[in-house]
């Protein structure tokens, strides 16, 4: 038994050695590492990356995208191991959506030391050792929402903001963008409440919304919420008390529920990010840099206001329903 195993081992090693040297055609391998793999958001990023790869390959630069998330979703240690693995593997470059703005700093810097550059997408990293930060301009998203709200209320009335969660950088920027634009452009609109938080889930958001509406439902004409779960929670709370459709409501992110609510006039606008474009630009930026072209340190992947009026427009349709099937085999 033992001899047999040893023989097997020697054979495999021999074959392994002889296989050295084949397949040396110049090809860029780009590892794309999301925070998780099951959410629609990440699937869109995956599809966008694949689109960039097939476009570039058609243009003569052979590009292969390797898609791999952390083994356990939302586990920083697992994501670190994936980054380290790709660095050791010697991929041409890494496109990373860091689970944490600090925990991923060391592996990204180590990767740079072994000659593997990184483009950061979606969420920031507290380091200077990456090529470019490709993400949604969240402040601009908040500004868009404020413009819509001002238009809906004709520049006067009372508005409340239900914030998402303490310490969440992206949503805080959306809230600040909304509030500062409100104050600057619509001075006659009063912000009656901006200090309440929805919390992490749809459930906590609904509870916070109920408490807030209990106090303000009869005085406010407008409501803004900065992400998917807070928008969903607020929508549920409004529907429960029969106020849905009677208040101007602008939310953030998209889901089928929100599109239905827009059609039912219960939601009067959502600001939507573009994850497909994020994946696409992430890979494009990486390849540009590898080919020696200069790249911007910060790249905006675009936000868009979706309302009942433009819901059927072709560009909105592709944004809400990115061509996943076409690019994910």
């Amino acid at each position: 038994m033992r001899k047999l195993l040893l023989l097997l081992l020697v054979l495999t090693l021999l074959i392994a050695c002889t296989r050295n040297g084949g397949n040396t055609k110049k090809k860029l391998t780009i590892a794309v590492i999301p925070k998780g793999t099951t959410h629609e958001f990440w699937k869109s990023i995956h599809a966008g990356s694949n689109k960039a790869a097939s476009e570039l390959s058609a243009q003569g630069t052979e590009v292969e995208v390797i898609w791999k998330g952390p083994l356990r979703e939302d586990d920083r240690e697992q994501q670190i191991q994936v980054v380290e693995g790709f660095a050791a593997q010697g991929v041409s470059g890494i496109v990373l959506a860091p689970l944490d703005n600090r925990a991923l700093v060391r592996p990204v810097e180590d990767a740079k030391r072994v000659g593997v550059p990184t483009v950061i997408i979606d969420s920031g990293l507290e380091s200077e050792q990456f090529l470019s930060f490709v993400s949604t301009d969240n402040r601009k998203g908040g500004t868009l929402a404020a413009d819509r709200m001002g238009q809906l209320l004709n520049g006067k009335g009372k508005v409340l903001v239900l914030r998402y969660a303490e310490g969440s950088a992206s949503t805080t920027e959306r809230e600040e963008g909304f509030i500062s634009q409100m104050k600057a452009k619509f001075p006659d609109i009063e912000l009656v409440s901006t200090d309440q938080y929805a919390g992490a889930t749809r459930d906590t958001a609904k509870r916070a919304s109920e408490n807030l509406l209990n106090r303000f439902a009869d005085v406010v004409q407008g409501i803004f919420t900065p992400n998917e779960s807070s928008t969903a929670g607020m929508l549920l709370a409004l529907q429960d008390i029969g106020k849905a459709g009677k208040v101007s409501f602008v939310g953030f992110d998209s889901s089928q529920t929100f599109i239905d609510a827009i059609n039912a006039n219960q939601l009067h606008g959502i600001v939507v990010q573009n994850p497909f474009n994020m994946g696409y630009l992430g890979v494009r930026t990486m390849v540009d840099s590898l080919l020696g072209k200069p790249v911007e340190k910060k790249i905006d992947t675009g936000v868009m206001l979706v309302t009942k009026e433009n819901l059927e427009a072709p560009d909105v349709k592709t944004l809400l329903h990115p061509p996943l099937d076409q690019y994910l085999k």
Partner: protein, 324 residues
Amino acid sequence: MTRINKSGFAISVIRGFGPVLGLLVVIGVFSLLVDTPGRLLSPNNLRIVLSQTVIVAIGAIGMTLIIISGGIDLAVGSTIALTGVVTALAIAAGYTPSVALLSGIFIGGLVGVINGFVITRLKVVPFIATLGMLGVARGVAKWMANQQTVNMRGTWLNELLVMFPNPSWLLVAPGVWIAIILAVCAAIVLRNTVFGRRVFALGSNEAAARACGIATDQLKIWIYGLAGLLFGLAGVMQMSRLRQGDPTVAAGSELDIIAAVVIGGGSLNGGEGSILGSMIGALIMAFLRNGCQQVGWPNYIQEIIIGAIIVVAVAIDRWRSAKA
């Protein structure tokens, strides 16, 4: 009891041989599968695999003690998270890194001693006692960390598991050397000291051990406490890798650690196991993970393979010991 007589050393070497062979097969097969065979054994990749093994390896040293004594500890992952948070909090509060390190290790030991007391004084079987601790320690970690990650200033603790150690003549991260030294010490303690022999005696036959005059309850508290200190150190290592205290980290890593011990020849019935085997077991799993990624297999294949390997390793071990 047969494994602690004069030929114990020879037997443990032979027993250690199976896992070593397994490790070589894993490395050989993956070298065959990756495009450039040298890549798997390149210095940089070895550095990475060794650094990634350290947390499981240090945990597995403690777990080997517990499993040989016939016990089990399911709270390791939670203990790692808790002690990582404690260490990060200590640094954030302005204590020196050494004090933070010791406080992390101490809290680990404390958790272990509590486990020991619950098992011996309250007569709760280890599986249930540590299952309870799994929840308690995780909860306390989240509570202490205020349900967020704990960020702190950079100290030398952050350098324990870096890819390129400073000074560079260390070749691999300092944490790897710490793990190796601890493994050697633990192997000597298990083989050559009264304490080590009593651990085997306890796991082989508890009633007989008690009849021989061993204070088994006291011994168990020592074992869980000692293992807890090691889990505490593993927690510090985890914090070093993340550069922050994360109360949600290492969920499920107790299973990796138990798997390392079992692949390395440890028996969940007690009385069997070796430090060398457990270390090899930890390396096998690290190489499997690393290899699957280098080959480009998706995560689910990785999970299926590791699961299958655990069962196959134990089955082969049983088959061999039945023949012996």
